[in-house]
Assembly symmetry: C3
Homo-oligomer: 155 residues x 3
């Protein structure tokens, strides 16, 4: 039986997402079963272009969806200059981009679960999320995976 | 013997506190023993109204206590508009509020430990913390709980 | 065989570094094997005075290195007033400073690994890092340590 790793990706920031997917792909490449549980701002990684809202979304959910776009840095964001520099540096140094890592993660079988509670609060529909999402589920599903995992991280 | 989960709640932000207590209550409801170790800004969750300071607190501790009030969001705080919107959305969508989750956590037997080192630095007294706190203790006590836990998270 | 703890120190903030080293030293004092994997902003803890750049560093890496100095607080940074107050309070209350904790960590045998991917992106050379660094390595090395650890944290 394979070793398991489960990551809660709570943050919607470029640098933390890079960390999460670097770890996830390295673990999956090393023959571990990896699950990422996307919650709160982490759901930004799974949103289709556009707001990804339910048709019946509340005005306030649409407002939140509107301001909650893009992936800043957790530090030195500098009004967007930080993430732009980071992406440039990743390209220039030949490191894999977040898009590369996310594509690789799926090829290696990393499982994506979107947090149902967060989707409910933010008014995000299944159709608003990318096809790669395996499941929309709550904390109990996370805990089942985490309970069997050798490595659990909250990022 | 029950499975255990231990959470370090370092952050004093509404969104991260919601994540911590959602996980804690789900785990306790699923028959796990749950301990939350509140440290640094996480102690804000345990402070009684008012500054919760020792009488002998230093001026600088009082100043820090004064600015360190309330629970912002870790992202999109927007001078307090973000947390206000989040609370409204939680209410409108019927999700449990932080107050509900904290009440439930205690009903389900979640254990609260307040970090003694942080209390010392910040000048917080036992009387300044809510009655629900089971213990004021240091890192060694945390590590004892964490060493027996299947799931350990730093939030 | 000793129990193990592995910490990913991703954050370059004074308060989170204090938490990481308080835990690391307490664990090592309690006879655990402790490894800290420094990545992204966490590498700031390991940089020698000066920018610590490769001679061949790109202009953009030098710019990032220039703005990415010092250790702010994750909350209430107040343009540097927060960290200044925190250091004063630590001194006045007799708590160990970050410098004390880092010195103690090495005396107790805490292992330091610097993330090779982050060093590459940021243009940080081995010579730019303090001598205490045991190894520069990637996610696979982290996962090997984490897979054997009782306690894993992402800070």
């Amino acid at each position: 039986m394979k070793d398991k790793m489960t990551i809660i990706l709570f943050s919607g920031e470029l640098d933390k997402a890079l960390a999460a997917f670097t770890l996830a792909t390295a673990a999956a490449a090393g023959n571990m079963d990896v699950t990422i549980f996307f919650t709160f701002w982490g759901l930004n990684l799974l949103k289709k272009p556009g707001l990804g809202m339910k048709k019946s979304a509340l005005l306030m959910q649409k407002m939140l969806g509107f301001v909650n776009r893009g992936l800043p840095l957790s530090r030195l964001n500098m009004l967007g200059l930080g993430p732009w520099m980071m992406k440039k540096l990743i390209k220039k140094t030949g490191a894999p981009s977040l898009e590369d890592l996310m594509k690789l993660a799926r090829q290696l079988g990393v499982k994506y679960i979107a947090c149902s509670t967060s989707c409910g609060i933010m008014g995000i529909s299944r159709e608003g999320l990318v096809d790669e999402v395996d499941e929309i589920a709550g904390a109990a599903t996370y805990l089942e995976a985490a309970g069997k995992s050798k490595v659990n991280l909250f990022i």
